[in-house]
Structure formats: structure tokens, C-alpha cells
Amino acid sequence: MTSKAIPIFVAVLAWSATGQSLNHKIDLGKDSPVGLLSEDFGNSNVIARGGASQIEVNASLSLRNSSQKRIRSMTLMVYAQDGAAGGKGSVAVPTLDAAPGETFSIGIKTLLVRPVASGNPAVEVKLDGILFDDLSFYGPDTLHSQRTMTVWELEAQRDRKYFKSLLETAGAEALRKEMLASLARQGDRSSMGVQMVRGRATNVETDRELQFASLDIPESPIELSNGLARIAGNEARGPRFDVRNRSGRAVQHLEIGWLVKGQQGREFQAASVPGDVKLAPNQSGQVTQDATLRFDRPLTIESMSAFVSSVEFADGSQWIPSRSALDQPRLRQVVAPSPEEQHLTQIYNRKGLQALIDELKKF
């Protein structure tokens, strides 16, 4: 009986694991500055697993810049159309640089597991934002992409300017050394898998308070002090900072980089703490987050540091640290390089110095 049941069971498993095609919708918005040339959802499917559906999106979109400006970055939102999964994802390309009329492609690989809903599951890919080279923006900005993409663009402009200046003043060999140093830093950077849960637990065991060391950047419009978080086992929760606007302009948003050092001496950037604080010039306030940070490996937190990584003024313009500010050894080792710096170092690494110089000459 067993020998007969096993093939039947295997056949049932095989049948249930066979995927059905995925319904999908692409919404680039009305009067979108990008046009859809082609789409390929060929490898996407839906697999029923008892009470859940596993939706696998393997898509490639071919798009064309139909605007008159260079597109510097783009963010697409991906979500289940019925909203049952309760979350959304995004795929962003911060180093796009598509000229007017130019075509480009974006790949999406998403795995969605959710309870089975009535009807065929469907996934929607929606344009959330496009940032142009003049920092103008198009899109619904549901995910606050404009802020993030503007920071990426400012970082790109800062880093390209730095590398071009180095090439002009010190020559190609100096640029090569800088690329090698950057690749070495990227290789040496520590990182650790992290999880974040909003809210706080009610029965977590005894915890302790640990103060943040503030890494002051003198040029920063915001002064950071009295940072504190509660540590319990493998978790850090409830970060809190005092902030003061020392600039002459009103501030509406800021982001703080959260650095963690374990007992083994490894320091890494664990999280960012955004704060929607409206601060008039010289006004003080507080940034608090009811959130818990958890590491996916055992870690005894020895110390924590924080620095202001970006500030948004009331008029929408942004401040980011300069290259020289980030050059202080403490920050240089742990702060992530910009997407643009990683793009440029990869060009150097893959195609060599001349390809990098050609790339820097583009804009």
C-alpha cells in the first residue's frame, strides 16, 4: 500500500507545485516621461501552497526616456493588487543616466507569499518616481522616493565632482589610487543582517541604556546630542536623540546614521533613523523612534555612534556631508559609499581606468 501511495502523493505534490501564469499590470502614469517598449513576465508564476500563494515575479521592462531631460534615477513600486499582503516593495536604479530618447531596461525579481485570496492573484508594477538631472521630479511619490532619489543625485554630483577634480589636478594615476582605496574600503566594510520591528515588546527581559557617541560634522546644519537606546540581548530599541538646528534655514526632515560596534571590535552602519522634525533656525527638538533593531547573529553591543547623514530644509532642498567631512577616519571606514561611487569603482574594476575617465567626461 505504501509503495502505491508514494507515487500518488508525489504526483499530487508535483501538480500542486505547478505554477499558473501571473496576472500583472504596469502603470507608468499619465503623461509619463518614460514609455514602455516591451515587457517580459515570462518566468513569473503563481504556486499554490495549501493556504498560501507564492507569487514569483521575474520581469524585465524595456523603457524609453520620452522626455527632453536626462533621467538620473527611477523607482518602481511592486505590490499585490488586492493589497492582501499588507506590504509593498520597490526597485530603484539610482545610477541610470538615460538621455532623451534613450532606451533602458529594469529587472524585477520579487517573491511574494500571502494567504490565498479569491480570484486570480495579480501584481502591479507602478512608477513611483523619476528624478531628472536638474533635480526636478515626476511621479506620485507614494514611497517618498523624491527625498531619497534627491540624496542619491546630490551624492552622485559630489562624488563625480571629486573624482573629476582629482583627475584634473593630480592626474590619472591619482584617480587610479583613489579607486583602489575605495575598492579596499568597500571590501573591508563590515555588515550584518538586521531586522527591524516597529513598536516595543512588553515582556523582553532586563535591558540597559546605552548612550550614542555623536560624531559631529561641523558643517552639518543639525547638531546631534544625548543619543540613547535601550539594549536587551541581541536587540537595540527606542533610539532617541536631541537635535538643534544651528543653520539659518528651517528644517523639516533629517536622517541619522546609526553605527554599532560589537564586542569583537567590528563597527558597521546598522540602520538609519529618519525624523520628521520641523525646526526653525536655532530651535531644538527631539527625534525618537519606537522601533526595535535586531541582529540576525549573536552580537554583544559594546558601543554605538550616530551622525547626521542628510537634512531636508523647508523649501525641499537637501544637505549632505561633503567628501572632506566624510574623510574623518571614523566615518570613512563605516559609512557606505554612495551608489555613484560604487558604480564608478565597478566601471574601473571591470573595464579599467580609461573607461572610468570616459564615464567621468559624460557629465
Partner: protein
């Protein structure tokens, strides 16, 4: 009989039934050993006597009938022996795979039912609880329950970003790539950054808990 050739070997030697090499060895020993030589002679004498007796058997003997009777007697003897012998477990060595196959089938069935019906987040939670119980780490089930009560969880690691909420999950990866960095935001998002080795294009994937 230490130092002597075995009797069976000598018997075969006497009848000329040993292979060449063993015959030479046995012959060499018999030539030097009086005791064995004597035994060989005895075997030869007995063999000659039997031969003579066989020659005296009647001409009309029914060999086929004799053979059938002997076979029948042997079968009756074997059956009778089986009736009175203690009952040994039958074919134990040949049927051991049956319970193993049955257990494997049951395990396969349970595993399949689990895979089809239990959300992966529940499996992970139970796995963590068992791991904590096994390793004696603090918290155990109560701490995990507390963590699960807090609501949606976002995470970023070398395998991509993931949102887990209400038994559902959303994960984003980039095929064939390893993330070059990952982090979370306390406002409820997790991001990973990927660099395409050929085009140097940077892609940032993010999940949001609302």
C-alpha cells in the same frame, strides 16, 4: 593433528581428486610423514573395498526407483523436522526495509502536508523556538512570542530584503547577484544594494511595512 595435512585433503589425495598444485603439496607431505601415509593407505584400502562391493551389486537393481524413494524419504524427514523444530522468525533479514519504507512514507506525507499548509513564517518561528530550547538561549518561546506580537518585521541580509506580516511575506532579490550593502530604516523599511558586474548598474531594492 598439528603439522599434518587435513584428513579431508588426504581423502581427496587418495582418490586422486585434488587439483594439481594441492596434489603436489599433499604428496610431498605424505612422502615425509608416516602417519599421514598410513592414513592415505587406509583411505585407498577402504575405497578399493567399496569398489569391490559395488561390483557385486545385482544387475537388475532399479536405480530410478531407488532414487525416487530416497528423495521421498528425505522430503518426509525435512517436513517432520520442521514440524518439531522451534519456530524461527521468518525472513527477518529480507524484510527490514518494510518498516523503514513505511516510516519514510509517513515522514514524506507529514513533510508535504506541512509544506503545503503551514506558512513559512510559522515554520521559522517554530524553528527558532526549537533552536533556542536546544541551545539554551535566553527567551525561548516567550521571547519569540513577544517578538511576533510586535507586528510587521522587515529585514535585510545577504539574501535580500524581506517583509513578514500576518503569515505572508514579501521578498526582493536580484538574480545571480550578491548585495553589496544592506540596512534598515526605523520608519519601517529595509534595503539592499546590488551592483551588476557587467553594466555597473546599481539597483536598490526595498520593502516597506506599510
Amino acid at each position: 593433528m598439528m603439522g599434518h595435512t587435513a584428513e579431508t585433503e588426504l581423502a581427496l589425495y587418495a582418490s586422486g581428486d585434488l587439483p594439481v598444485w594441492r596434489r603436489l603439496v599433499a604428496g610431498w607431505h605424505v612422502r615425509g610423514c608416516g602417519e599421514c601415509r598410513e592414513l592415505v593407505e587406509t583411505f585407498r584400502t577402504d575405497r578399493a573395498r567399496l569398489q569391490r562391493s559395488a561390483d557385486r551389486l545385482p544387475e537388475d537393481i532399479g536405480w530410478d526407483q531407488l532414487s525416487a524413494e530416497m528423495t521421498a524419504n528425505i522430503r518426509v524427514g525435512l517436513a517432520a523436522g520442521e514440524c518439531v523444530a522451534p519456530r524461527a522468525p521468518k525472513g527477518v533479514a529480507l524484510t527490514w526495509w518494510r518498516p523503514v519504507a513505511a516510516a519514510a512514507g509517513v515522514l514524506l506525507l507529514i513533510g508535504g502536508a506541512w509544506w503545503l499548509n503551514i506558512p513559512s513564517s510559522d515554520t521559522e518561528t517554530i524553528g527558532r523556538a526549537l533552536h533556542n530550547l536546544a541551545t539554551g538561549e535566553r527567551g525561548g518561546l516567550s521571547q519569540i512570542a513577544a517578538q511576533e506580537e510586535r507586528g510587521p518585521m522587515v529585514g535585510a541580509s545577504a539574501s535580500g530584503v524581506k517583509l513578514v506580516e500576518n503569515g505572508g511575506s514579501l521578498g526582493i532579490q536580484q538574480s545571480g547577484l550578491q548585495p553589496v550593502m544592506y540596512s534598515v530604516s526605523t520608519q519601517g523599511s529595509a534595503s539592499t544594494r546590488w551592483v551588476d558586474q557587467d553594466t555597473a548598474q546599481v539597483t536598490i531594492t526595498t520593502v516597506y511595512d506599510q
